[in-house]
């Protein structure tokens, strides 16, 4: 019995760590006004102008929505200028917003533009969870919890 005590304590410690990790899933409440990099929410926008945008939501605040949109640099979409004057054009017209970065993805270059849009210009916007999170959450909840609990009970 005396020998078993440290093992029981170790199991209890592991169990408490597991509880802390599990419950931390509830703690990720982020104000949408300051979402930024603290959360991953996808948004599909249908604008009154007829344009459709898909990107990552950064904030909704003061009647404006800010999002990050990725453009593949090919065809009509091209980069012009250099340094601070570098900008993205689509069909000869500048893409509204601030060019944040240009990264290479395989053989393609992907430009990231940060756009702020007045809510009044939005016909419809839909909000989407991260695909990994949407598929992973239910599996983890239904498998990992009971599996860890049962195995700890067997181990003690």
């Amino acid at each position: 019995m005396l020998h078993k005590a440290p093992i029981v304590l170790l199991a209890l410690l592991v169990f408490l760590v597991f509880l802390a990790v599990a419950t931390s899933g509830c703690a990720r409440r982020v104000p949408i006004a300051t979402l930024g990099d603290r959360g991953d929410v996808g948004v599909v926008l249908d604008l009154a102008s007829g344009e459709t945008l898909r990107g990552r939501l950064l904030s909704i605040d003061g009647g404006e929505m800010t999002l990050e949109v990725h453009y593949a640099v090919r065809g009509d979409v091209r980069l012009t200028g250099s340094g601070d004057r570098r900008r993205l054009e689509d069909g000869g017209a500048p893409v509204p917003g601030e060019l944040v970065s240009v990264e290479r993805d395989g053989s393609e270059r992907i430009a990231t533009v940060c756009r702020t849009i007045d809510v009044g210009e939005i016909d419809r916007a839909t909000f989407h969870r991260d695909a990994g999170e949407a598929s992973l959450g239910p599996v983890l909840s239904s498998v990992v919890g009971p599996a860890v609990g049962a195995l700890l009970a067997l181990a003690i």
Binding site: I7, F18, H128, L140
Partner: protein, 151 residues
């Protein structure tokens, strides 16, 4: 004695880690590729309205400067679903609460619209892979196995 118990514990912890890893790897594969976001709209969120009402549910869309929000409403004698012009309206104590998205055995998924002007705070819940449900299921499984082992 201590070595054999410690060895058994180590083997079982290794097995638990392997199970968790397999679950994570298998489910991770399902979420990769494409746009990177789920096709079906809906993000867990909660709203605090300017009149102090807190609503927890799923943020679905924004249109006409109002957000559409899905909540789960328990069915009861004071809850009615009435169809008008092909739309199912949900009434609670005779007051319309929203439209019915899904009528289930024990509850109804209700979509209500909240104008942006009426929203005091809007929080989204992201990266919440695990929750209280996982912890509760873990505790239940722990005691269930202990009871079965004693028998």
């Amino acid at each position: 004695m201590l070595h054999s118990v410690a060895g058994r514990l180590l083997r079982r912890i290794s097995l638990a880690s392997a199970c968790a890893l397999i679950a994570v790897a298998a489910s991770g594969c399902a979420g990769t590729g494409g746009w990177g976001y789920a096709e079906e709209p809906g993000v867990p969120a909660d709203i605090l309205t300017t009149d102090g009402q807190r609503i927890a549910g799923s943020l679905v869309e924004l249109s006409d400067e109002a957000v559409a929000f899905d909540t789960e409403l328990e069915r009861g004698e004071n809850v009615e679903v009435i169809r008008r012009s092909g739309i199912d309206y949900v009434y609670v104590d005779g007051i319309v609460r929203g439209t019915a998205v899904e009528v289930r055995d024990f509850d109804i998924v209700v979509r209500s619209r909240v104008p942006l002007k009426r929203i005091d705070e809007l929080h989204v819940r992201t990266r919440g892979y695990l929750g209280w449900g996982t912890a509760v299921a873990g505790v239940l499984a722990f005691f269930l196995v202990q009871v079965l082992e004693e028998q």
